[in-house]
Structures are given as structure tokens and as C-alpha cells.
């Protein structure tokens, strides 16, 4: 695996408070990598360490092959960021915000038009950012982050507080970035988002990694009940063991056209997290 991000036994302390302990993971090129954890778990601290904004107390973090404590000149040209604080110039128009970053990156103005169309902001580009809705602002921040076609995109809670339609649009844009080969580092406490978007996830709790893997595999791994739930057309709820003994009964119900709904007892990531930590993911 060609690792774009590597963290090895990273520890971070602020004063006497340990916010990260022994955190190790790596992210392969072209992956959508999810970092899940409740507020205060240490997700933003990990991003800050990786992007060289703060240094780890112990351990090493590498970004695109460089030690994050000594990032090479120009490395930020290969990175795009959507952080929890938007960092946009509120009085300026959306276009002026984009023009400024295009000038810094040395990118043509036509690219701004292309990106603004892609994120659905063409009609709002002349408006001051302070007049835009939260969803539009978030799309502007994403547009700024992908303006220079980065190799690596950090997305810190990119859909937090957004309506479902805007969140869906942002998910589409993220997948588009992955298609062109961009590696995505996504932090979220939205388990549905992580399940549907991420190739690999890690679960973080109180600064420690508690589990890692492919979302669907993790859900199967923690499927302790291993049951099949059936709702029949006459309103009965059946909980059947997921084994060959139930197969005949299920087949019979289907042949009699009695099945209203059927699903397995696989937990979602939220339940997995609660099983592992006793805490909710919010």
C-alpha cells in the first residue's frame, strides 16, 4: 500500500491533559478514510498534527512522505482542507474569495468558473459570503479546497449541521474527488456518512483508537445476536437465528407470500461504537 498518511504511536499532551495516546494508522492513496469519534475524542488534534499546525508530544506523523513536524516547502499546494472553522472572508464575494486563492496557487480564473459550476454556486459567486446560507458557505469552502486539485483532502465534519440534500451533494463531490485519485481524510461523528462514504474507518475514543477496518466488516464483526428479523403481513414480528435451521421457515414464509419485511441484526457503526466504549458517537 502506498501510504499517504502515516501515524506511528502518536501521543499528544496539552499541559497535564493527554488528548491522544498511542495512535497509529496509515491511509493508502486514493482511499476515503474515516476518523470517527465523539466530540472531544481528538479528531481535530490528529488533523492539526498531520498538517503541521501542532507537534506531537511523542511518536511520528508523516504526510505525503514528510515528517509533519518538518513539512517540505510547498507541501500545502498538494493539500486541500475543509476545517470546522470556514475561514472565508465574509465581507468579500464568493468569487473574490476564490480569486484570492487562485492567485496564491497560480491558477487560471477559468478554473474558478469550472469549480463553482461543479459545486452549484455559479449564481451566488457575486454575493458577499456573509449573505450565503450555511450549506452554500460549506460548498464554497469545499470549492476552495479542491480549487488546486489537491492530492489529499482533509474534511473535518464537512456536512455537520447541513440539510440532507446539501450533505448528499457534498458526498457526491467527495466521491468525484476520489475518482480522480485524491485521497480523502474525513472526520465525522455521523455514522451513516462514514458507512456510505468510507473505504476504511478508525474509531477514536478519548484519544485512543478502539477499532479499525472496513465499515461493513466491522458491523458484521460485532453482530453478536446474529438474528433475522421478519415482519409478516399479519403483523407478527419473528426473530429467527441466522442459521440453516431457520432457512426452511423463512422459505416457507416467502412461498406463502407472508413476508412484509426482512432484515438482519447487523449493528450500525453507532452500535459498534457503543459496544466498544459505552458512549454515543455524538
Amino acid at each position: 500500500m502506498n501510504a499517504v498518511i502515516e501515524m506511528n504511536k502518536v501521543k499528544k499532551e496539552f499541559g497535564n491533559k493527554t488528548v491522544l495516546s498511542d495512535v497509529s494508522f496509515s491511509v493508502g492513496k486514493g482511499q476515503i478514510f474515516g476518523l470517527l469519534g465523539p466530540s472531544g475524542a481528538g479528531k481535530t488534534t490528529i488533523i492539526n498534527i498531520l498538517t503541521g499546525q501542532i507537534r506531537p508530544t511523542d511518536g511520528t506523523a508523516k504526510l505525503l512522505g514528510f515528517d509533519s513536524a518538518k513539512l517540505a516547502d510547498g507541501i500545502y499546494n498538494k493539500i486541500g482542507m475543509v476545517l470546522d472553522e470556514s475561514g472565508v472572508y465574509e465581507r468579500l464575494s464568493a468569487a473574490d474569495n476564490m480569486i484570492m486563492f487562485a492567485d496564491i496557487y497560480g491558477i487560471s480564473r477559468s478554473r474558478i468558473t469550472e469549480i463553482s459550476e461543479k459545486v452549484g454556486l455559479s449564481d451566488a459567486m457575486k454575493k458577499p459570503v456573509e449573505t450565503l446560507s450555511k450549506g452554500m458557505k460549506q460548498r464554497l469552502v469545499l470549492a476552495r479546497a479542491i480549487l488546486h486539485s489537491p492530492e489529499l483532502l482533509f474534511l473535518d465534519e464537512p456536512t455537520s449541521g447541513l440539510d440532507p440534500a446539501t450533505a448528499l451533494r457534498i458526498h457526491e463531490l467527495i466521491r468525484e474527488q476520489q475518482k480522480r485519485g485524491c485521497t480523502i481524510f474525513l472526520t465525522t461523528h455521523n455514522m451513516e456518512e462514514a458507512s456510505s462514504m468510507c473505504d476504511t474507518i478508525i474509531l477514536l475514543n478519548k484519544g485512543r483508537l478502539v477499532e479499525r477496518g472496513v465499515p461493513q466488516e466491522l458491523c458484521r464483526k460485532y453482530n453478536k445476536d446474529n438474528l433475522i428479523y421478519i415482519m409478516t403481513k399479519d403483523g407478527k414480528e419473528l426473530n429467527l437465528d441466522n442459521n440453516h435451521r431457520s432457512a426452511k421457515k423463512i422459505a416457507h414464509l416467502f412461498s406463502e407470500n407472508q413476508v412484509e419485511s426482512i432484515h438482519s441484526s447487523e449493528p450500525n457503526l453507532e452500535t459498534v461504537f457503543i459496544t466498544l466504549t459505552g458512549r454515543k458517537l455524538v
Binding site: T51, Q53, G74, I75, Y76, N77, I79, M81, L83, E85, S86, G87, V88, Y89, E90, R91, L92, D96, M100, F101, D103, I104, Y105, G106, P128, R144
Partner: protein, 237 residues
């Protein structure tokens, strides 16, 4: 490399110009004192026989050099820190030095334009005008250094305002008070704005002595040290 540096500086400079046009609070600071000088000169100084025509130009020019650059640059830097826009600039590979040069040059250029207005109202022409401009710019630069240091030290605009206002008031208004009070004048002599006031007060600008420039230089050196300490401790984080 130089092209990369200059494009970042230019981008920061252009952003600040656009922002100023949409930010009345900043715009008014650059415009207010020259406007007041014009109004007071036209309505009062020119109608009072015992008052020199350049009386208000000199008074407001000194206030301008002490107040505007200091307040403006500290406000810009602290706002960028508070709004996290500065963080995004740093994450876009803009170096702290490039940012400070971009913002600093913006403040100095706009203050130079304001100084030109004062020079014209004050009736300076030819070489005297250039000397006047040079003196004003030495004051603007000194104030900019202290304002930038305060901006670096502050976490947000409120802290910056609380820190900068008393200092800017002293720098700007002490020379004015010194005009009417000898004790204040003695105390104000160590201040760069007082030296600027002395120098631009002399219509032929004959008072450009080494001692005056030395005092301005010492002020500048002290503020430069404060700026370097602020930069090392806080950088632009």
C-alpha cells in the same frame, strides 16, 4: 521563488484593498483625518488671521501617523486570527513574512496617500513636500510595527482593540496636548510622533536634525524588538 513570493504578497494586498472597500470601519479611518483637516482648514484656519493655514494639517497629520496605521494593522491581523482566515492562508502556503509584507504594504501605501492629502493642505511643495512625505512615512512605519506586534499578540479583535487604543491615543494625541502644556511637551519628546510634529511644524522643514531622527529610530528599534518577540512567541498562529 521570487515570483511565488510576490504573487502571495500581491494576493494578500489585493484582498485587503477589496475588503477595505467593503469595510466602512477601516475605510473611515483612512479617510476621516484627512477630511477633518480639509474641513477645519477651509472653515477655521483660513478665516482666522492669527492662525497659520497649515495648523490643522500639521495637527491631524501627526494624529494620523500615530493612530491610523497602528489601529488598522492590529485590527486586520487580529480579525484574520479570530475568523481563521489567516490559518487558511498559511495552509495555502502563504508564508507569515509574505502575509505581513502584503498587509504592511497595504497600510503604508494607503497612509502615504493620506499623507499626500495632508501635504497638499499644509501647502508643502516640491522638495518640502517630499521631505514632509518622508517624515510622515517614518511615523507610519513605526506605528505599523507596533500595531503589527499587537495584532500578533492578540487572540481576537476585542483583545487587540483593548491593547492598541491606549497606545495609539498616546502616540497620536500626546503631541497635540504638548502644544498647550510644557510639562507634557517635555515628556512627549521621547515619542516618535512628537518628533514628527516638530519636524512638520517647521514650514521650511529646517528642523530635520539628526537628534530627531535618532529618537524616531530608537522608537522604531524598540517596536521592532517588540514585533520580533511577538512574532517568535505567537507567529501568526
Amino acid at each position: 521563488m521570487t515570483a511565488v513570493r510576490s504573487k502571495c504578497i500581491k494576493a494578500v494586498f489585493n484582498k485587503q484593498i477589496k475588503d477595505t472597500l467593503k469595510n466602512k470601519a477601516t475605510l473611515i479611518q483612512f479617510v476621516m483625518f484627512p477630511m477633518l483637516a480639509v474641513i477645519f482648514t477651509e472653515t477655521i484656519a483660513k478665516n482666522q488671521a492669527d492662525m497659520p493655514n497649515n495648523y490643522f494639517a500639521i495637527m491631524f497629520a501627526t494624529i494620523y501617523a500615530g493612530f491610523v496605521p497602528m489601529v488598522t494593522i492590529s485590527s486586520i491581523i487580529s480579525e484574520e486570527k479570530e475568523q481563521h482566515t489567516l490559518k487558511m492562508l498559511m495552509m495555502a502556503n502563504v508564508k507569515p513574512g509574505q502575509y505581513l509584507v502584503g498587509i504592511g504594504s497595504y497600510v503604508i501605501i494607503l497612509c502615504a496617500l493620506g499623507s499626500c492629502v495632508f501635504g497638499m493642505i499644509g501647502g508643502y511643495v516640491g522638495l518640502d513636500f517630499l521631505k514632509f512625505l518622508g517624515i510622515m512615512l517614518s511615523g507610519v512605519l513605526t506605528s505599523t510595527l507596533l500595531g503589527a506586534a499587537i495584532g500578533l499578540f492578540s487572540k481576537n479583535q476585542m483583545t487587540a482593540t483593548a491593547m492598541v487604543l491606549p497606545l495609539a491615543m498616546i502616540a497620536a494625541f500626546l503631541p497635540m496636548i504638548a502644544m498647550f502644556n510644557e510639562k507634557f511637551e517635555k515628556a512627549a519628546r521621547v515619542l516618535y510622533t512628537q518628533q514628527i510634529s516638530y519636524m512638520i511644524n517647521d514650514p521650511a522643514l529646517e528642523s530635520l536634525t539628526a537628534e530627531r531622527f535618532l529618537i524616531i529610530g530608537i522608537n522604531m528599534a524598540i517596536f521592532l524588538i517588540v514585533f520580533v518577540i511577538a512574532y517568535r512567541r505567537r507567529s501568526l498562529s
